[in-house]
């Protein structure tokens, strides 16, 4: 279980996060949604330790991550997988080397076993046989899938995903969402997804956190969103005609 308590983050005079507290449910897809500039990605980076919160604490299974130093964080980091918005694959490495990178760092597996694990991950993301390609030879959707394969190569307990659908066509977006959902269910990971894609919210949003202007504005399930009377959330979720029509049918 991941718990965040009263997280504040300030850049200069700009207070981006204003005291956010929440629990992220184990084995579920926890979605952080909100408009551009609402602080979603900053919150995610505070949770994984890429940003240090100005105030507040992050707990992984009741262990305070925020007060740990770099070395103390390593055992927790081994349990974290992350898919970045731009996939963040290492350009100089092939697909296979990218996936095996965390295994080389943290395990003493024989090379054949690492290769088996890489192939297993590639099979999971439906990219069998693409081992020797470089990131520059992949499409946006394929890069995301390799990013997911790398993120799950250590079979993480916690999976963080930043804007998984940005820049992807609707079909590929659904495929990525389904893939993340399958991984969450199969590996029982605590998955935290930052998105502003409403299809993802309505498709895989087990637990949804709505941020507005750096504050937690609403929290609930995807089923509760359709019936909420929260003005800001309504404006955000049902901004498009398509979503309004979808709600009318519910």
């Amino acid at each position: 279980m991941i718990e965040i308590s009263d997280i504040h983050k300030t850049f200069g005079d700009n207070e981006v996060l204003k005291g956010i507290s929440a629990d992220f449910k184990p084995g579920k897809n926890n979605l952080i949604i909100g408009g551009s500039g609402s602080g979603k990605t900053t919150l995610l980076k505070c949770i994984v330790g890429l940003h240090e919160p100005s105030e507040g604490k992050v707990f992984y299974d009741s262990e305070c991550f925020t007060t740990m130093d770099f070395r103390e964080r390593v055992p927790i980091r081994k349990q974290i997988g992350m898919l970045f918005q731009n996939s963040a694959l290492f350009d100089s490495m092939t697909v296979e080397e990218n996936i095996m990178f965390p295994l080389n760092l943290f395990t003493n597996m024989p090379n054949s076993e690492k290769l088996d694990r890489a192939n297993f991950c590639l099979e999971k993301v439906n990219l069998v046989g693409k081992n020797k390609l470089y990131p520059s030879e992949l499409s946006g959707g394929m890069k995301k899938r390799v990013g997911i394969a790398r993120a799950i190569s250590m079979q993480p307990k916690y999976l963080f995903v930043d804007e998984p659908n940005s820049g992807l066509d609707p079909l590929t977006s659904i495929l990525i969402d389904n893939l993340i959902n399958e991984i969450t269910e199969e590996f029982n990971t605590t998955t935290v997804i930052v998105t502003h894609d409403m299809n993802s919210v309505m498709g895989i949003g087990d637990h949804v956190l709505f941020l507005n202007n750096g504050e937690k504005w609403w929290e609930g399930t995807k089923e509760q969103i359709a019936h909420t009377d929260n003005k800001e959330l309504n404006e955000f979720v049902f901004a498009s005609k398509f979503m309004r029509a979808a709600r009318a049918k519910l």
């Binding site: 770099f70 980091r77 081994k78 974290i80 970045f84 918005q85 963040a88 290492f90 350009d91 943290f106």
Partner: protein, 211 residues
């Protein structure tokens, strides 16, 4: 190491040959008095080459070629979140990315400087054959006469320090890039400019301390 060392061999070779040749011709031109032995041109060209041209000019060129590559490579990794990905995995990103480049700098730049010294002296010899300002025999006699091993030691100390300056400053600039493609370019430019200035400053300090 391959990128810093072997990758820079071509440009360093060309520059050293031409600078060695030009230095010898200019020294011969300035010492055209009948009272000065012609072999002096070889001695002066040798010392200039070993002490100043090979380490300093080579390092300034390497700052442009290797330094900009280091800064832009690490800068691109920063803006495309590859460094964040390393940190998420618990990798000490500065140690993983910067340390190998510093090791490559402090080992490869001295080797390149040795090559530069050799080719600089060869360039002077070729200039003597082609121009006839100094006979090749006089040039070789000058190169041999009064050779002091200290000059090579000074050159190598300079090379190690310059290698460290190029790799560390450019890697630092790349590592702390924020923004996008524009900022990566700016980091590379800053890395090269700061490296060049620091190389010239260190050149003065080492020369003053060791000679």
């Amino acid at each position: 190491m391959v990128s810093v060392g072997v990758g820079s061999l071509g440009i360093i070779s060309i520059i050293s040959l031409f600078i060695g040749a030009a230095t010898t011709i200019q020294v011969a031109f300035q010492l055209s008095s009948p009272l000065v032995p012609r072999s002096i041109a070889g001695s002066i060209a040798r010392d200039s080459n070993i002490l100043e041209f090979s380490p300093t000019i080579s390092s300034l060129v390497l700052a442009g070629r290797v330094g900009s590559s280091i800064a832009s490579q690490i800068g691109t990794m920063r803006v495309t979140e590859q460094i964040d990905a390393l940190e998420i995995m618990g990798v000490n990103a500065p140690g993983y990315l910067i340390a190998p480049k510093i090791i490559a700098g402090v080992t490869m730049v001295p080797l390149l400087v040795i090559v530069a010294i050799t080719l600089g002296l060869t360039g002077g010899y070729i200039a003597c054959i082609l121009s006839g300002d100094v006979t090749p025999a006089d040039y070789l006699a000058g190169v041999h006469d009064g050779f002091d091993g200290l000059t090579v030691r000074v050159a190598l100390v300079k090379a190690v320090v310059f290698g460290f300056i190029i790799a560390s400053i450019c890697a630092y600039q790349g590592f702390y890039t924020s923004g996008g493609a524009l900022e990566v370019g700016q980091s590379a430019t800053r890395g090269v400019v700061f490296s060049c200035v620091m190389i010239l400053f260190a050149d003065l300090v080492i020369t003053r301390l060791m000679l």
